[in-house]
């Protein structure tokens, strides 16, 4: 019969974690990440957790992390995309030949400010079209995603090859390269401003969530818990900005840039990189994708379809069209990842994005996306990408042989899924 409401009454004995409404899975992932970082820091005599390495780790993660957010939606709807690395290569090739061949042939010479935006639009359109094609084959022609994208893995890798005749294409446009990471950063002051804005946004989000709950007379957390949440988010954001701001531009690089402007560098002049534009792009992608997942109908339909495709269909959701949308989104994100990856290299190469499908799927799955569908988070996938990248660069710094690196990464993927299955059984969640 009637049990008392769990939200009030003396029966409700809550742990601090519950009061804060923290996600235990998220805490577990953060814990794993911290352990990985600390272990490598010890093994490398403190070289792992330097501002320089953290900066590099961050910009190396961006491309895979961007694609992993899209892979969450793909896997949540019970599909898979094995073609993301190859799709990235085709988008990268399209952007590279647009800026080095098509546009110059049309009279837009090197350095023209229109080159970067046009190349990016061409790349995004390429990704969207190929993604939509995949989605149509899967949704409307009912070919399993595994097969469509396994075919795509081979097709798009070689379309990229064909487009570029197997040549490396570069150097890419200077403006275009700004999104590569070290080639384009906001600088110290800009980084602090962005940090402040981020903290303000976090505070507003927390306050608004509380107001909405009060308005509908739902139970709210105690004020101290909200305060603690704000303090933790502020500390994390400012800590991240401070770290990136602590990585100083090498003196020789600074001197060269002064010389390029025909000036001499003052004695003792220093400058730091700050937040890279590519990281801002990843943050923007993360915010938009989280908003889509949680607050839009599209996101609700993605999760409903993953949870029970028949129920979604009976509720009037057009699940075929939904599949097209999900894969189109995946294609667009591959194009963004291609932009970051090729800008970071400063050229398009034939093997760009090779094995990224493995990294992207691993990031999503390590980040808690259930292969059975219906469950997954954007922040989890990004954290998963960060964990994968930390493992890989950590091992490289320690001097682990290349074959062993890959053996470890592959094993971690399998073990992560096992841990996830055990965790879900324990908590009774799916």
């Amino acid at each position: 019969m009637a049990t008392d409401s769990a939200s009030d009454g003396p029966a409700a004995r809550k742990t601090i974690l519950k009061t804060l409404e923290f996600d235990t899975r998220l805490l577990g992932m953060i814990g794993a990440f911290v352990v990985v970082c600390l272990v490598f820091n010890v093994l490398t005599d403190g070289r792992f957790l330097t501002p320089r390495n953290i900066f590099n780790l961050t910009i190396q993660t961006v491309s895979v992390a961007i694609m992993a957010t899209g892979m969450v939606f793909v896997i949540v709807t019970r599909h898979i995309d094995l073609s993301v690395g190859s799709l990235l290569a085709t988008c990268s090739a399209m952007m590279a030949i647009t800026q080095t061949q098509f546009l110059p042939a049309l009279g837009l010479d090197f350095g023209n400010p229109l080159i970067a935006p046009i190349a990016i639009i061409v790349g995004l359109a390429t990704g969207a079209l190929i993604g939509a094609l995949h989605g149509w084959l899967i949704g409307y022609l009912s070919i399993p995603a595994f097969i469509v994208t396994l075919g795509g893995l081979l097709v798009w890798r070689n379309v990229a090859w064909y487009l570029t005749s197997g040549q490396t294409i570069g150097p890419l446009d200077d403006t275009f390269q700004l999104l590569g990471g070290i080639g384009g950063t906001v600088g110290t002051t800009g980084s602090w401003i962005i940090g402040l804005l981020a903290v303000a946004a976090a505070f507003i989000a927390i306050v608004q969530a509380r107001r909405a709950k009060i308005r509908h007379e739902f139970p709210v957390k105690p004020l101290w818990a909200e305060g603690a949440l704000m303090a933790v988010s502020a500390a994390l954001i400012f800590g991240f900005v401070a770290t990136l701001n602590a990585y100083e531009i090498p003196v020789r690089v600074l001197r060269r840039s002064f010389e390029a402007r025909g000036e001499t560098m003052p004695q003792g002049f220093t400058e730091a990189y700050g937040v890279p534009f590519s990281v801002l792009l990843l943050i923007a992608v993360a915010v938009v994708m989280t908003l889509v997942a949680r607050r839009t109908r599209l996101g609700r339909y993605i999760f409903a379809t993953g949870g029970n495709p028949d129920a979604a269909e009976l509720s009037g959701i057009n699940t075929r069209l939904l599949t097209v949308k999900v894969f189109t989104l995946m294609g667009v994100l591959c194009a963004l990842a291609a932009l970051v990856a090729s800008a970071r290299l400063s050229f398009h190469s034939n093997d760009i994005g090779t094995l990224d499908e493995l990294r992207v799927i691993a990031a999503a799955v390590i980040g808690g996306t259930a292969l059975a569908g219906g469950i997954g988070t954007i922040y989890g996938a990004i954290l998963g990408a960060l964990i994968m990248q930390s493992l890989q660069s950590g091992m490289a710094m320690v001097g682990v042989d290349a074959p062993f690196q890959n053996i470890v990464v592959g094993s971690v993927l399998v073990i992560a899924v096992l841990v996830d299955i055990i965790y879900r059984k324990r908590t009774g969640e799916l």
Binding site: R300, Y301, A304
Partner: protein, 253 residues
Amino acid sequence: MAARTDTPLVEMRDVSVAFGGVKAVDHVSIDLYPGEVVGLLGHNGAGKSTLIKCLSGANKMDTGEILINGEKVEIHNPRDARRYNIETIYQTLALADNLDAASNLFLGRELITATGLMDDSRMEAETRKVMGRLNANFKKFKSPVKALSGGQRQSVAIARAVYFDARILIMDEPTAALGPEETRMVAELIEELKAQGIGIFLIEHDIHSVMDLCDRASVMKNGKLVGTVNVADVTDEDILGMIILGKTPAPAS
């Protein structure tokens, strides 16, 4: 009993559905008037669910037509059915297990704010209201419906069907997972909806509920319609005879 002078709310004429070689529904015609409850009876596998799924847009008909208020309509998918204010409680409940009660209740018809984003708190508040009427013991608004008992899940499915001003309600074994008290609440709900002029197709195995709640009963056997009777004119044994033997009682309607 509803007045029979006007046109029926729903008419399904000569409906057939085959799955491979199995004739799941074989030239069946049934109808429904406003404010009427028509029971649909028959053994498991008789074709009841398949028949009503043609009306809710989940199945395609091989032959036959559907008329609503005397006009022929085309129902090809669940969205079409919703446009004609047809709501369905499926035997399988058709819930997304990973979502909470409010998300399921509003699935496909989410409330949105002025900015075009979903208004989750309003949806939850509305869900609390309607669940308060249907099943006052229901408290698990934040959990995915996977974590709910069979009865609670059934309440969510019922709430979804009655929330959106249905004119035609299809209930496929709505009390299968419910306890006696919840079953009584559903019976009261059916009376209330009937009084509002809603037409209800009720698939139900319990013969006493049928005798209590239904105005007419249509009995199916092996995909064929055995017959339709006025419940007031027959005994429960007559109806059981129709279900088991496939024979209409002497004073057939």
